[in-house]
């Protein structure tokens, strides 16, 4: 059996990758505790796969270091790192059966047939594929292939499991199911999982920690709730869920002058500062009183079952509001003018980076 690496925490120190002049990843710093579930979240081309490939050892970083349990693994080839990896599209061996696929990492380590069979069976049980051992990958559904890829990555008990958009090819229902399985699996095996996705819901629901990437840079990292409630920049607020953005200037009395309104904010910076407020649609209440109350004319209103998605026209532009449909205070009929309100601590001050809407 080849030497297995320690199972300590993984650390990225200033990890960077350039392709010629183009910077794919710039100075990524991350500390990933052993046994935690980290998600790299970002739009297409933001460098997620590149970071994952550098961790796996397939892409050589231009600068920076990679440490596992304190030891430097930057120069270690991928076969020596042997982190479990689930590729986008799974990369199962088409000429092998499911069982042979899962047995592959064990065969590589020279583990005897009997021990191999036992572990393959146990791992297939884990991903609920016991009845499929003798099929070929081509004879499986997308979700089943994905679970084979997971089993193959888990069977040799790697220190780290790398997942590159493992669920992106699946329909919504199957994806939700497999997210649940993935989370349960993570709890059961207690290994470090690093997941890549551009699906913000998946990132929020699965992870202990999320790192948001944009243009090859880690913009913010933290626990899902922390990121959602306290986005540092406009990009993070807009990428993780929806948000309204209000430009304003802090006044002498601590209010924020925003168009014609003076808005109360829980923690205003020094007077004279120009600020950008991020206000989540679900934190605005229609037809109710609050610290900040303004009026707007309903531009559009969509019924979503659980709630209404309403857009109101105000002097500072359209504002989106989500409100529960059940026992709503007002009926957001198009063309009517209604009042809305939010608490002083509802909005967050964010940095204005270049953001997609």
């Amino acid at each position: 059996m080849s030497a297995t690496l320690g199972t300590g925490s993984l650390e990225l120190r200033g990890l960077a990758k350039r392709y010629g002049e183009f910077v794919a990843v710039q100075g990524a710093d991350l500390m990933i505790a052993a046994g935690s579930f980290l998600t790299l979240l970002g739009p297409s081309g933001s460098g997620k796969t590149t970071i994952l490939m550098m961790i796996a050892g397939f892409t050589e970083p231009t600068a920076g270091r990679l440490l596992l349990g304190g030891g430097d693994i930057t120069a270690l080839p991928p076969e020596k790192r042997a982190f479990g990896m689930v590729f986008q599209g799974y990369a199962l061996f088409p000429h092998m059966t499911v069982a042979e696929n899962v047995a592959f990492p064990l065969r590589v380590r020279g583990i005897g047939r009997a021990a191999r069979d036992t572990r393959v069976r146990a791992t297939l049980d884990l991903v609920q594929l016991s009845g499929f051992a003798d099929r070929r990958p081509a004879q499986l559904s997308g979700g089943q292939q994905q679970r084979v890829a997971l089993a193959r990555a888990l069977v040799f008990d790697p220190a780290l499991l790398l997942l590159d958009e493992p669920l992106s090819a699946l329909d919504k229902k199957l994806r939700a199911e497999l997210q649940e399985e993935l989370r349960a699996l993570h709890r059961r095996v207690g290994r470090t999982f690093i997941n890549v996705t551009h699906d913000q819901e998946e990132a929020l629901s699965l992870s202990d920690e999320v790192a948001v990437l944009n243009h090859g840079r880690i913009v913010q990292k933290g626990a899902p709730a922390m990121l959602y409630e306290h986005p540092r920049t406009r990009f993070v607020a807009g990428f993780l869920g929806k948000s309204n953005f209000l430009h304003g200037v802090v006044q002498g009395d601590g209010t924020v002058q925003c168009g014609p309104w003076r808005l109360h904010h829980a923690a205003p910076p020094a007077p004279g500062t120009a600020v950008l407020l991020s206000l989540r649609p679900e934190k605005i209440a229609l037809g109710q009183a609050g610290d900040n109350a303004i009026e707007g004319r309903v531009l559009s209103s969509a019924y979503l079952g659980a709630g209404h998605a309403v857009v109101l026209d105000t002097p500072i532009g359209p504002i989106r509001v989500h409100q529960p449909a059940w026992r709503a205070a007002v009926d957001p009929a198009i063309g009517t003018t209604i009042s809305m309100a939010w608490a002083a601590d509802a909005a967050t001050i964010v940095e204005d980076d270049d953001a997609p809407g």
């Binding site: 080849s2 796996a56 080839p77 991928p78 076969e79 042997a82 990369a91 088409p94 590589v108 040799f156």
Partner: protein
């Protein structure tokens, strides 16, 4: 097949014409091989299998068949071994220089074999390889490499490089990746290349004419001499057997391709 344009009558006529033209020599050789005459001709009074019988009774023909067979086998091994490794190396390095090298490896297909044979004659003279089993094996093996390079490169082009990454990521060494992932995936290409390399050696004449004389007397060589010296219809019988054998190999190749494609 559904959903494709059906060929018009011009296309049909051209297709059938070409096919007919290709198989016409075969239709002539078959009746000639069952002639009742003593010279190369069509049957006069009836058909007879005497030339087939004569063929199996003639030790020199049999020796040539055996010799050709073993030369073809050995040169196929040589061509498949070097051609496959070369194709894999080019594919892995994938630089502009490897493109050039690959083109270079196809030279034996491009250079007329008579030119090639003259060159070989010179070198083999120096190295004492003339009229030797090893000499013919080397010559046929080297000229068989392009077939293997082409078929294996084609197979590699459709190989998903992430399979190799996946294998490495699970701790597989280069040797294990090669043996358990790459080779099984490109095996149909290798077998195709082997079949072509075999056929190439099996019916190669020009080079043999130059580098072999007495000790190495392959089947095509014997047919050639037979035609030049006496018009014995035994040659037609040999030709029919040769065609049958080659067709068999091609059918095997097609079956393998079909298996790969499904």
């Amino acid at each position: 097949m559904d959903g494709i344009y059906r060929p018009g009558w011009v296309g049909r006529a051209l297709g059938w014409g070409t096919a007919l033209y290709l198989v016409l020599p075969l239709f002539i050789i078959l009746p000639v091989s069952v002639t009742d005459q003593r010279f190369l001709s069509l049957p006069h009074e009836g058909i007879s299998l005497r030339h087939y019988a004569a063929l199996f009774a003639a030790p020199d023909w049999f020796a040539s068949i055996a010799q050709s067979f073993w030369i073809a086998c050995a040169s196929t091994v040589l061509a498949v071994g070097t051609g496959t490794l070369f194709a894999i190396a080019c594919w892995r390095l994938n630089r502009r220089s490897t493109e050039l090298l690959r083109a270079l490896m196809l030279l034996p297909l491009i250079v007329p074999s008579i030119v090639y044979a003259i060159g070989l004659y010179r070198y083999f003279g120096w190295w004492d390889l003339l009229d030797r089993f090893a000499g013919v094996v080397i010559a046929h093996g080297v000229t068989g490499i392009p077939y293997v390079v082409i078929t294996v490169s084609t197979a590699l082009a459709s190989f998903d490089p992430r399979l190799e990454q996946a294998a490495r990521g699970m701790g597989a060494s280069l040797r294990q990746v090669l043996a358990w992932v790459i080779l099984p995936r490109i095996m149909p290409g290798i077998v195709s290349g082997a079949i072509f390399a075999f056929i190439h050696s099996w019916d190669e004449l020009v080079i043999v004419l130059f580098i072999a004389s007495r000790d190495v007397f392959t089947l095509p060589r014997r047919i050639w001499d037979g035609i030049n010296e006496n018009q014995d219809p035994i040659m037609a019988a040999v030709a029919v057997l040769l065609i049958g054998f080659t067709t068999l190999l091609l059918v095997v190749d097609m079956a393998l391709r079909r298996k790969r494609d499904t």
